[in-house]
Amino acid sequence: MSLDNIFDAVLDYDADEVAGQVQAAIDASEDIHLILKSGLMEALDDIGENFSSGEIFMPEMLAAAQAVKAGLNVLRPHLSGGKKKSNGTVVLGTVRGDLHDIGKNLVGMVLEGAGFEVIDLGTNVDAATFLDSATSNAAKVVGLSCLITTTLPAMASIVSHIKEKSDDIMVIVGGAPLNQAFCDSVSADGYSEDAVSCVRLVRRLLNIADAGNTVLRQDQQR
């Protein structure tokens, strides 16, 4: 079955094969949203579970995310007749003073694979840019990333700025020097330690069920 071929190609980390199989499924008039859900999203969820449990590492996670992204690029124009339907919009960026982005990039790819629209602002992003982008894109979640300790004050300041200016934008944080205690100290709405748990966090914050359309179990919620 063509959806199984897509799923298997993601697990094989084969971006070209994923793109080819997605096109083949489209050509065979498979349901577009089923291609997204059963072919791509569930495969990425599987991979994500393996990453969370420590069975696979960053190279495999990145390769899988890139493979899914290749499939999404083929699928996107066909989603909802060309008008993209998503689970919600998330604005991402690495905070001002920091140029590191590998973690943020992976989060973006995994969120896209999970059906979110991602606005990636890149690196060295200031508070006003985060807020403006979230406002103009009707994003309910802003994700802040940093790698180096010296930019933690910048992250705190950005969280504070967004919270002051908006009542309904939620701010989540992630990055090597961070932990839940830091998140709590800056009154951010959530902290995730890796890309996979970030998807769970965003789903929880936006009250969205997982890819299998089951409500998240208590132990799956952060």
Binding site: D98, I148, T149
Partner: protein, 409 residues
């Protein structure tokens, strides 16, 4: 009971620790490597605290904006080691990230941009390094092998590959750097550490792109191996030159390659053993046989599952012992690897403790860490990575005062 150590020099103290013997006290490192020194700001404030004029501040490490620690400061902190950085032929005065006037390599000429970023451009006008506005470090922003598809294309990148870790602005010939090292050796009793660096894995990430190289390890293994093979050969050839010059005056050779993330290694142990370890093994074996010196490896992050492999390929000293990373429990590290490795670092966490805790909290943590790592030697105290901007002076003082007080055997 420690051996009689009434008149130990710094060099003797460190080498006893490296060879798993207790000295008079735990040796201390501040300024002995490029990853155990200080950024300009906290260094300047420390010097001001002591009323010591350290002008001009000497900053050979432009990427991390880190200094050569003045001996007067080092002695007050109990420092037992001195780094041989890659140095320039000529120095110039310019401002560091915080406006402090420093001496830095003359050929390092970044340009201030309208948005406040400072960028070093290459000969083609492309940004090579960038310190963003409000930032404290220069980061590599150009990945020259990013678009490469074929192994044969690597031939065109020979110069870039051969010179990784040897940037053009650090252009003092090693024959001259050897004179500096000789003079240092003869004028001080400190342990002299040759910072050769010798990146292979990180070099591949920088040259290819962080994500790109990691994905290569899954989908384009032959390319990844070809790149690492060329890097290993280049580092081996460079080390032959280093060993015959600078290395003659060193007590320890330092290499660096960050294999860890915060919670796990970058790659699985299987991937490390199959794809990366052979190149580390080749280089480190060559370094050990050629120099006859102990090998210190700087390896950030969560690397517990890779440590047996590092021991196997000749690492004698492990730095920085990032105990805030996953699985890097100090008691377990000492228990399982303490007979095979000297732990260099591990004194106080630099991600949270050193910058943000109170001095008394820092003291308590350091006492605990010393109690775990010091018995039987095999421990050189240091901060886990450089003392970066934002660390209060009182925290630096608490750190090294406690190390001196509580490190007595």
């Amino acid at each position: 009971m420690p051996e009689s150590s009434a008149t130990l020099t710094s060099r003797e103290r460190v080498l006893r620790a490296v060879h798993h013997r207790e000295a008079d006290r735990v040796p201390i490192d501040l300024g002995g490597t490029e990853v155990s020194t200080m950024m300009v700001g906290p260094y300047k404030r420390l010097a001001q605290h002591f009323g010591i004029d350290v002008n001009p501040v000497v900053m050979p490490d432009i990427m991390q904006q880190c200094v050569i620690v003045d001996d007067r400061i080092g002695d007050l902190m109990g420092a037992d080691a001195k780094a041989i950085f890659q140095l320039p032929k000529k120095w110039r005065r310019a401002e560091a990230y915080d406006g402090t006037l420093v001496s830095l390599p003359d050929r390092f000429r970044p340009e201030l941009q309208p948005d406040g970023a400072t960028i070093l451009f290459d000969g083609d006008g492309e940004a090579e390094l960038c310190m963003p506005s409000g930032g404290y470090f220069f980061d590599i922003v150009q990945h020259p092998l990013k678009e490469m598809e074929n192994i044969h294309d690597l031939d065109s990148a020979k110069e870039i590959i051969d010179n990784f870790d040897r940037p053009y602005w650090a252009d003092l010939p090693w024959e001259e750097l050897a004179k500096y090292a000789k003079n240092l050796r003869e004028s001080t009793d400190k342990t002299i550490i040759g910072c050769f660096t010798g990146h292979i894995f990180q070099a591949s990430q920088y040259l290819r792109g962080w994500s790109e190289f990691l994905v290569d390890l899954v989908t384009n293994k032959k390319f990844a191996e070809a790149l690492m093979d060329r890097l290993a050969e280049a580092q081996i050839k460079a080390f032959d030159h280093y060993a015959s010059t600078v290395g003659k005056y060193c007590d320890i050779i330092e290499v660096a390659d960050d294999l860890g993330m915060q919670d796990r290694p970058w790659v699985s142990p299987k991937t490390y053993r199959q794809l990366i370890k052979p190149y580390h093994a080749r280089l480190y074996d060559h370094i050990k046989r050629t120099s006859g010196l102990p090998l210190l490896m700087h390896c950030d992050g969560s690397i517990y599952s890779l440590i047996p492999d590092l021991i196997e390929i000749g690492v004698d000293i492990l730095n920085p012992v990032q105990y805030s990373a996953g699985g890097m429990d100090l008691e377990r590290l000492k228990r399982e690897f303490g007979n095979d490795l000297c732990f260099w670092g591990g004194g106080i966490d630099t991600q949270e403790a050193l910058p943000f805790w109170k001095p008394e909290e820092i003291r308590d943590q350091i006492k605990r860490n010393i109690d775990i790592l010091a018995p039987g030697g095999g421990f050189v105290f240091g901060t886990v990575h450089n003392v970066v901007e934002g660390v209060p002076v009182e925290n630096v003082l608490a750190t090294f005062e406690t190390a001196l007080e509580c490190g007595v055997y």
